[in-house]
């Protein structure tokens, strides 16, 4: 089997893994080594479905010993099997890297025999890449649940980012669909990586040349839609993972029926919940950059997101007591909660309002999405001129905004001023 065939099989087997980020670590040129890493990551291309490709994302091998119901690589599925040798994969990575196709390697694998043996093969590949090929770029490695702690440690010293997939939102679903994996080994790995990172930070503060353990942190992903958990459950879990395990990212992947099974949604009537995945990512952003709590966004009464409106608008509509917000004087935290204002436009408002009074036209130039924000803001104690919408009618306005609304408003104010 030649490299082309192997690449086709093993990239195809890896493509359902969501994460392909290369962020979190800054590493300049080092003498005698090849490559650098950028803190904010770098996207090298985008697939036809709009996902960023920044790493060479492949499996080391796809002949899996496990039989997870939803997985394309499960033992009982009839697909062509292949495995890279460490040398082949290293050479491919280096040649792709110098042509600026990729930012580094994303190495994952099916369970080849046992978790420990798989991890040993993966570590051998990474060691070859770092030591023989002197690769200084980004490496994301997936830890196999149930592997020996010593192997996790060895892998973390070679990789920049590590990840352990939590796979499904609840332990019940996990036991149902992945009989070979348990919740405990997955969370055990996560805790071990967290402690390794913590220890490494401490050592680095004491001694500059201490070995770096997964300097770009760890991430995880879960499948949404294959099992009946609510959005509230998923969001609480996400928040817990960020707080308890210090994760950099939690990724969601809408379940796609690539294989069929008795405990899975019926493929004929099933549609992948892409919108739900989108809403979860929006909420994930609100948790990480907007200081929201999971319980603020959803509650037991309405445990799922509104398909028509994004979570931030929903929160604003449910909390009329906080609005309207005065753009010239409001606290930064409160500005962040206004729909249409993000961290960047919030910072720009803070800069601009030091120089003088603010106007609505100026806010638009600063990058505020006035189509949304106009209903929730005051400038110098005044509402946008000509805007007459009652709070009760706001929801329908936001769901189906009238065309050209804001342009019309700016004409009004020109006439007035």
């Amino acid at each position: 089997m030649d490299v082309m065939e192997k690449l086709t099989i093993l990239a195809d087997a890896a493509k359902y893994d969501v994460a392909c980020t290369s962020s979190g670590v800054n590493r300049g040129r080092r003498a005698g080594r090849v490559g650098t890493a950028l803190n904010y990551g770098c996207c090298h291309t985008f697939t036809a479905d709009g996902r960023c490709v920044s790493l060479l994302k492949v499996l080391l091998g796809n002949a899996c010993a496990y039989d997870c119901a939803y997985c394309v690589n499960r033992r009982s599925n009839d697909v062509p099997r292949a495995a890279f040798t460490p040398q082949e994969l290293c050479r491919l990575t280096m040649e792709f890297y110098r042509r600026n196709y990729i930012e580094g390697l994303f190495l994952s694998s099916a369970v080849l025999g046992s978790p420990d043996r798989t991890m040993e093969l993966m570590i051998e590949t990474l060691r070859l890449l770092r030591e023989e090929h002197r690769f200084n770029g980004y490496i994301h490695a997936k830890a196999i649940p149930g592997a020996d702690p010593a192997l996790i440690r060895a892998m973390g010293l070679l990789a920049d980012r590590m990840s352990v997939n939590i796979e499904l939102p609840s332990e019940r679903s996990l036991n149902l669909l992945c009989p070979d994996k348990g919740r405990a080994p997955i969370l055990g790995n996560m805790a071990r990586i967290r402690d390794g990172i913590h220890q490494s930070r401490h050592d680095l503060a004491v001694y500059r040349h201490a070995p770096r353990f997964a300097p770009a942190g760890q991430s995880t992903q879960m499948i949404v839609g294959a099992t009946p958990e609510s959005d509230l459950h998923i969001l609480r879990l996400t928040q817990g993972l960020y707080r308890r395990y210090g994760l950099k990212r939690v990724f969601f992947s809408a379940y796609l029926p690539v294989v069929s099974g008795p405990n899975l949604p019926v493929p004929q009537t099933y549609r992948p919940p892409l919108l739900r995945e989108h809403r979860l990512y929006q909420a994930d952003w609100l948790l990480r950059f907007y200081h929201f709590d999971a319980e603020e966004l959803l509650d037991e009464g309405s445990p799922n997101f509104d398909p028509d409106l994004d979570p931030k608008c929903c929160w604003a509509l449910n909390h009329p007591q906080f609005f309207p917000v005065e753009a010239e004087r409001a606290e930064p935290e409160m500005l962040l909660r206004v729909p249409g204002i993000g961290p960047t436009s919030m910072r720009r408002i803070l800069v601009a309002r030091r120089c003088g009074p603010l106007h609505f036209e100026q806010l638009q130039k600063l990058g505020v999405v006035m189509k949304l924000a106009q209903y929730f803001l005051l400038c110098g104690g005044k509402r946008p001129p000509g805007l007459k919408v009652k709070w009760d009618a706001l929801r329908s306005r936001l769901v189906a905004p009238p065309a050209g609304e804001w342009e019309q408003l700016s004409l009004f104010s020109e006439g007035g001023g």
Partner: protein
């Protein structure tokens, strides 16, 4: 008609010399044109020769008056593709000289907002191109071409010189006809040498068998990654505008071994460039 038409060589030092003249003679320039631009203007003409020593003095003085960030803002503004950027930058400089450092944060001024927007566009294009540049190996030299809107080479230079420190590479900007040449440092692990030169035309020799094999592997990898049930061409296009696709390997059909003709691959390069190139490649 008040104001003058300033003719300069289109470089940043040239612009700084214009700035000095404008303040020296207290003139208001109506228009900036390049030396080689043959269009006549309705304004009186001022021909400005570039004096590097003078430009350096102006740069240092402006740095003192506008602050480090202010002069950086002006420099970046000059690399953008903003219409009448020289006039707008002059307005920003004027504002800065009146109000002192921090002019880049005067978001109440329309001109500052315009320039800041153009600078963001420039920086976004640089971020895009860090990822979208594609090199191909032509006999041990990596060659890439780009077609950007802004002058991005000075800002991309550092990234690629660090990343490919041990490679010889050429990166050609087809829009501004500039060529970045890099060669690794002499002693092991030393810093590489680089230069950006004007180059009117740039053609590359056809790829050899190994290069074609890696291009095909990359195309296959790219095509394999897409998930058909999730197809979303608009999302892809908003992340990666189509104007970049023309220079990216994964959107090109496989190159035939003989395409482009054999023979001197670097034909068309200006003589001076060619000499420099040979100097770099054969060291």
């Amino acid at each position: 008609m008040d104001g003058y038409c300033y003719r300069y060589d289109g470089t940043f030092p040239g612009f700084l010399c214009c700035v000095r003249d404008i303040y020296q003679y207290r003139e208001s320039p109506g228009l900036f044109l390049l030396h080689q631009d043959e269009r006549p203007s309705l304004f009186d003409e001022r021909w400005v020769e570039t004096d590097l020593a003078l430009a350096r003095r102006v740069y240092r003085r402006l740095g003192q008056r506008l602050g480090r960030r202010g002069i950086e803002f002006i420099t970046l503004g000059f690399l953008t593709c903003l219409d009448h950027r020289e006039r707008r930058l002059l307005d920003v400089i004027d504002l800065g000289l009146n109000t002192g450092p921090g002019v880049e944060r005067r978001l109440d001024s329309d001109q500052v907002i315009q320039v800041a927007k153009a600078v963001r566009h420039l920086q976004r294009e640089v971020d895009h191109l860090r990822g979208f540049v594609r090199f191909s190996d032509r006999g041990g030299v990596l060659v890439g071409t780009i077609t950007p809107k802004n002058q991005v080479l000075p800002l991309l230079r550092r990234h690629f010189c660090e990343r490919l420190a041990e490679e010889r590479f050429l990166l050609y900007d087809r829009t501004h006809r500039q060529l970045l040449i890099h060669a690794p440092g002499q002693e092991h692990g030393g810093r590489g040498r680089w230069v950006i030169v004007e180059a009117e035309d740039f053609t590359v020799p056809p790829p050899d068998a190994q290069e074609r094999a890696y291009q095909n592997l990359w195309r296959r990898f790219y095509d394999t990654l897409a998930i058909p049930q999730r197809e979303n061409p608009r999302c892809r296009q908003s992340h990666m505008p189509k104007r970049f696709w023309g220079d990216m390997t994964e959107f090109q059909p496989p190159e035939a071994p003989g395409a482009g003709g054999h023979g001197p691959g670097w034909k068309g390069l200006a003589l001076q460039t060619l000499a420099l190139l040979i100097l770099f490649l054969l060291r």
